[in-house]
């Protein structure tokens, strides 16, 4: 099979990561993933506003995912739409299992993901960047959380769909995971796949996650120097 951009079926797009790119945020990261350009920031742990959202047994994790008006083909109206709100919610679900929220009761950790340019796979790029920003902010985590999608294009299961493949493909299945324990923390899927294809896609996406995981570690090392991470 020939992919539109010449990649092999299990090949990721080119990915570039940078940690600590913003001054004001407590933690930040930039991820370029194919044509996707994504910034993530973390503020916190800090006071919960409004107060009634506070939990006395753990920190509240809030994730905001936003596409800038100029990130997509047709200008998007500023402000949250239903898709953005859903992605913010599943992003929180993808990151929470790894964050030691119980260490910071009555506080709030805020993750913001801004998509400057979108080309399929922004939620995976966003989760990947947000993980780096959490580490940059000094938030203790059980594991890094890489994310990656697999999908079905021309009847075949392939890794990391680009926009063109996403439009013409039969299914898309993004996941996030904690590689140390193989725990899948994000899983969505839309399209049409058999049980076997689903299994193949998840397994393939996991190999993608593992590659992203290595890049995350490298990006952190290049920021914070070597170490035993």
């Amino acid at each position: 099979m020939e992919r539109c951009d010449g990649r092999k079926k299990d090949e990721l797009r080119s990915i570039h990561m940078e940690v600590g790119v913003l001054k004001r945020a407590d933690g930040s990261a930039y991820v370029e993933w194919g044509a996707n350009k994504v910034f993530a920031s973390v503020y916190g742990p800090r006071e919960v506003i409004p107060r009634f959202l506070a939990r006395n047994d753990r920190a509240v994790l809030r994730c905001k995912y936003n596409m800038t008006p100029f990130s997509v083909e047709d200008r998007k109206r500023p402000g949250p739409d239903r898709r953005s709100i859903e992605i913010g919610k599943v992003t929180a679900g993808a990151l929470a299992p790894s964050v030691l929220l119980e260490k910071f009761p009555n506080s709030m950790i805020e993750v913001a993901i801004e998509i400057m340019q979108a080309d399929a796979g922004t939620r995976c790029a966003g989760i990947t960047a947000a993980t780096l920003a959490l580490v940059d902010a000094g938030i203790p985590m059980r594991d890094l959380v890489p994310a990656c999608a697999a999908g079905k294009v021309d009847g075949e299961v392939v890794l990391d769909l680009c926009k063109e493949e996403d439009n013409s493909g039969q299914a898309d299945l993004p996941i996030a995971m904690m590689p140390r324990t193989n725990a899948v923390t994000l899983l969505q899927m839309d399209g049409e796949m058999t049980e076997e294809e689903v299994e193949e896609a998840i397994a393939l996406a996991q190999t993608g996650c593992r590659q992203v995981y290595e890049m995350q570690k490298a990006a952190l090392v290049s920021k914070y120097g070597g170490g035993d991470e």
């Binding site: 239903r82 913010g88 679900g93 923390t185 899983l187 899927m189 399209g191 049409e192 058999t194 689903v198």
Partner: protein, 265 residues
């Protein structure tokens, strides 16, 4: 209250670890499903669904409008859900929050991705006039597993929906025909509690679950949508177990839907 919540949590977790549930159901046993198709007559299609004590109503209305420029020959479907204050002490007035949005989008995705509606047949005049189908979800009583209850109600309401036939000029005729529905996608939702998978979580189980997984399957056994929810995680084997169960449970529920719709005709 916190203390009470903790006791409930511990109780349900201990049961789950032992493969048991507070209401005596088996781990993979659904509550009773009661479907009233065509529950309303002002809607173009409707269904009242009870899943145990969870009660939801879905109404389908269509309007006529212009198509999107990039799909000039296709009608459009849009799904909305409101978690009205009536249904739960935890729901509040106001525009849909993230829970209502996720609910509507997961239900919508199952219908959309299974191509349940033949959107080409919603076209009246290519490039000019198409039908826009509104699927509106109303929750009356939130006793758990809204996704499945609403998914069942939505596809049932669509199956009962009628639409007016238009002539080649785009003028309405006196004839009505069924909305072109060709698939019955069924969502199956799992809760993971204390490491155990269970289907059709009741609201107390939902309040203490670690993680949630919905798998929507179609008539041919294809998986058409999945959604992991909440703050926990799943192993690949757990996911595949859920997929397998969804196929069989989906098939079972699909027959219940079909029987209810046939009976009402």
């Amino acid at each position: 209250m916190d203390a009470v919540a903790n006791i409930k949590r511990q109780f349900i977790h201990e049961l789950a670890a032992a493969g048991k549930r507070a209401d005596g159901r088996g781990m993979l046993e659904y509550r009773d499903i009661k479907i009233v198709p065509n529950y309303l007559k002002k809607a173009d299609g409707s269904a009242f669904v009870e899943l145990g004590d969870t009660k939801v109503i879905v109404g389908v209305k269509y309007d006529v409008g212009t198509p999107f420029p990039d799909i000039p020959n296709e009608g459009v479907m849009t799904t909305s859900a409101e978690l009205a204050p009536m249904a739960s002490p935890d729901f509040e007035s106001g525009p849909p929050g993230e829970d209502a949005i996720e609910l509507a989008r997961v239900v919508d995705r199952g219908i959309r991705e299974s191509h349940a509606i033949d959107t080409a047949k919603l076209c009246i005049k290519p490039g000019e006039l198409v039908r826009i189908v509104f699927v509106d979800i109303q929750i009356l009583d939130q006793d758990g597993n809204l996704i499945d209850a609403c998914g069942i109600a939505a596809i049932t309401a669509l199956l009962t929906a009628k639409m007016r036939v238009y002539d080649s000029e785009g003028n309405p005729t006196d004839t009505v025909e069924p909305l072109p529905v060709r698939k019955i996608p069924v969502p199956c939702t799992f809760a993971k509690i204390a490491g155990s998978l269970m289907t059709d979580p009741q609201v107390d189980e939902e309040s203490v679950l670690d993680s949630r997984l919905t798998v929507t399957t179609d008539d041919e056994g294809y998986i058409v949508a999945m959604q992991k929810g909440e703050y926990g995680s799943f192993k690949l084997e757990e996911i595949m177990e859920a997929v397998k169960i969804s196929k069989s449970e989906g098939a079972r529920i699909r027959e219940i839907i079909k029987a209810a719709v046939n009976e009402s005709d």
